[in-house]
């Protein structure tokens, strides 16, 4: 018989912060393609994501309503005239994570928008994936994103990936007042109307960042994808406290002066898991016997599979996300409403910082869909995304310890991440200083013809991309005193990243306490599902 206290907790669904007590259940923690099941020290604070918000009851109706009631612009139908040239830019496969069950939100939006364009006599329509310096999406991924009907009608001539290195495919507009280069895709620049279809998963995305980053080139991205800008950002997940966003806003305003841009922004809830993996979205206090059984089955299955098969299995499970909001119109007023919806879903109030913060690092990041979470991506997940998922005040105290749970294996995907391999093996042994790396090597990698070729003709991230991954962790690196990888399977990967390693989480906590004191406060953040801590001091 459960004690009354536990039963009360079971029904207190709105409580996202639980303090570990005697009798608290062990926690399920992501560890790459595996899971840890760990008992945490008494007093450890555990932060959970909010429950998924209710979806809009009829997504198509919500999209139509947004198109007819946009923010700061005329309705979409009023902007259309026969014979005009329209480009529709789409967020790439880095969003959402994992890829959502079909139909993807972008497909749902496109089905409505393309019908409206056709009814208005607009035939000159191109669909451009705004992948910036990310890898080109494969044919199969492109088909999955927009559905077979749209794919067959537009691919390959009118549905393609943006190419930031196409010498004839980019247009440079005027510079910003701060001298930032503003360059965007020529087809978009030459269009009478640019429609941007976005998926907003975290507050970093959307707004001016959509066009100003997604359709830009290396010269333009350099303005804000640099270590100084990241150091100057308290959190790049909180636009009001992010120098990165201030730069993209300046760039975006120049674009808006030259182009008519109509944004359609969708916000998803955080329903990342369902069915057999649905328990991953629950607090362990709320696990049923069936949930425990499902977890044990999953853990056992994964333990018997080679890593490649585990990865394949996990990547094949789509997320059952729902649309919780759709906004349309001019960049800033539209995005303001989008951010409000984002925070409703993702923002979790937390009282005070912690000396030690533990994050489980899952198998997937924005940059390794259908690929490997290599060491640089583990770094960007830990000190980049997870560290920055706050609203301006980091969860870990200055000089505190971050514990990341991941095997930190030395594996890279030569097709998707060829320049990462050289960065990791040639540059990191020389220096981890982001400023030095930028100054000495970024240009060399960015212009390396082999990497340019692999980006343009293969499915590789651009030669500059590993640098961005390193810069992304810069304010985390500047802030924390120590990073420990719990369960790292080798010594050299943590060492090259400037981290320490332990075999188990318990050892990592001991090591961390050795650095910050036996009475150190500890917080475990249970993400995924994604959450953004709103730390109150």
């Amino acid at each position: 018989m459960r004690p009354l206290k536990t039963l009360k907790r079971l029904y207190d669904e709105n409580n996202q912060v639980v303090v570990t007590e005697k009798g608290s259940p062990p926690r399920v923690i992501f560890h790459g393609e595996d899971f840890l099941l760990e008992d945490l020290p008494l007093g450890t604070r555990v932060v959970f994501a909010r429950l998924p918000l209710q979806p809009v009851p009829n997504p198509k109706a919500a999209i139509r309503w947004a198109l007819n009631h946009p923010e700061g612009m005329d309705p979409l139908h009023a902007l259309l005239r026969p014979g005009m040239k329209v480009t529709i830019a789409l967020d790439d496969i880095s969003l959402p994570l994992p890829p959502m069950v079909t139909p993807d939100a972008r497909q749902t939006v496109l089905e409505i928008v393309l019908e409206l364009l056709a009814d208005s006599g607009v035939d000159d329509v191109h669909l451009v994936i705004a992948n910036a310096l990310h890898r080109r999406m494969t044919e199969g991924e492109m088909k999955r994103m927009v559905g077979e009907k749209i794919f067959d009608a537009f691919y390959p001539d009118r549905y393609y990936n943006h190419d930031a290195e196409d010498p004839n495919g980019m247009v440079e507009l005027e510079h910003t007042a701060q001298g930032e280069v503003v360059a965007i895709n020529r087809r978009a620049a030459d269009s009478d109307l640019l429609i941007y279809v976005n998926i907003n998963l975290v507050p970093m995305d959307g707004g001016h960042k959509s066009v100003g980053t997604g359709l830009a080139n290396y010269a333009s991205l350099r303005a804000h994808h640099n270590p100084k800008t990241i150091r100057d950002s308290e959190s790049y997940m909180e636009p009001s406290k992010s120098a990165l966003h201030r730069s993209t806003e300046r760039i975006g305003r120049v674009i808006d002066q030259h182009l008519k841009v109509f944004h359609i922004e969708t916000v998803l809830n955080n329903r990342m898991f369902d069915g057999a993996t649905g328990f991953l979205g629950k607090r362990e206090e709320d696990f049923t016997e069936v949930d425990r059984l499902k977890f044990e089955v999953l853990r056992y299955t994964l333990s018997k599979l080679p890593r490649v098969a585990k990865r394949k299995l996990l990547m094949s499970i789509p997320a059952p996300y729902d649309i919780i909001a759709v906004n349309a119109g001019a960049t800033e007023p539209c995005h303001e409403k989008t951010l409000e919806a984002c925070w409703r879903q993702y923002s979790v109030p937390v009282q005070g910082q912690s000396d030690i913060v533990i994050w489980g690092v899952p198998y997937i990041s924005p940059y390794n869909v259908n690929s490997i979470l290599n060491p640089l991506l583990v770094q960007v997940m830990g000190l980049g995304y997870l560290f920055n998922l706050n609203r301006g005040i980091p969860l870990v105290k200055k000089g505190g310890v971050v514990i990341l749970c991941h095997p930190a294996y030395d594996e890279f995907d030569p097709e998707h991440h060829p320049s990462y391999i050289e960065f990791f093996n040639r540059l990191l042994p020389e220096t981890r200083d982001a400023m030095v790396l930028e100054h000495k090597y970024e240009q060399e990698f960015a212009t390396n013809p082999s990497y340019v070729h692999l980006y343009r003709k293969g499915h590789a991230y651009h030669g500059a991309h590993p640098f961005y991954m390193w810069y992304w962790g810069e304010n985390g690196r500047q802030h924390v005193g120590k990073v420990i990888v719990a369960g790292a399977e080798n010594n050299h990967v943590p060492e090259l990243l400037g981290w320490e390693r332990t075999d188990t989480l318990a050892e990592a906590i001991d090591l961390a306490r050795g650095a910050v004191g036996r009475s150190a406060s500890i917080t475990l953040v249970k993400s995924a599902p994604i959450l953004q801590t709103d730390v109150r001091l």
Partner: protein
């Protein structure tokens, strides 16, 4: 910016042909029926020997193979070289080869072809793809007639690496900032000589080396 170059092997890297295809074109364009038959049959009869030599030592293969050119006139070879570009080489250029060269040029590289083929067969292709220079084997001619001997050093294997180093010294180029592209393990020395090697359409041994040394691997096909 540091001056640098991109060195490209040709056969199998930029085009799908090799020196045997080239020779076959000359043999088939001998001018007389007996000439065509004679050279073609002679070449066919020696295929097993060529294959064995190539396997054992690329230098021996090149030396032996180029003996087949003996007796051909220089002006005829040059004219046929131009015709061969249209008939054989142009259709055999890998679809993405021109892009790769253009990307290197945009990166500020001097474009140099380095090949074990004969200079008069490569020159038209170099012009087509926009190479600045060609380092290739040179046939010895006496009285305008090919002797079948190549003027040493034969450009292959380790000599390609020496040629690249000499070229960089002569032109003030930074070897450690330069690029090299090849499809074959036999060009390992040339790839290892530069700071930025890349395997292109690699054979099994080169692919394995490229993976081990973290060299990028491209597919231009």
């Amino acid at each position: 910016m540091t001056a640098k170059a991109a060195f490209y092997d040709v056969d199998g890297t930029l085009v799908r042909t090799n020196i045997v295809h080239t020779y076959a074109y000359y043999a088939m364009n001998r001018g007389t029926l007996s000439g065509i038959a004679g050279r073609t049959l002679a070449a066919a009869a020696q295929v097993p020997l060529y294959a064995a030599l190539d396997l054992v030592n690329r230098k021996w293969f090149n030396e032996y193979f180029y003996r087949a050119y003996a007796g051909l006139s220089e002006d005829r070879l040059v004219v046929l070289g131009e015709e061969m570009l249209e008939d054989v080489l142009k259709p055999a250029v890998f679809p993405k080869a021109k892009d790769l060269i253009d990307e290197a040029r945009r990166a500020g590289c001097r474009i140099v072809f380095i090949t074990g083929a004969l200079d008069f067969t490569v020159a038209p292709l170099a012009r087509l793809l926009g190479a600045d220079d060609v380092i290739a084997n040179k046939m010895q001619f006496v009285g305008g007639i090919a002797t079948g001997k190549v003027i040493p050093p034969i450009i292959e294997g380790a000599n390609k690496a020496h040629a690249i180093r000499d070229y960089c010294v002569r032109h003030g180029l930074a070897l450690d900032q330069s690029f090299a592209y090849s499809d074959s393990f036999s060009d390992y020395a040339m790839l290892a000589m530069v700071g930025r090697p890349t395997a292109v359409n690699p054979d099994v041994r080169l692919r394995s080396i490229a993976r081990a040394y973290h060299w990028p691997v491209l597919d231009l096909r």
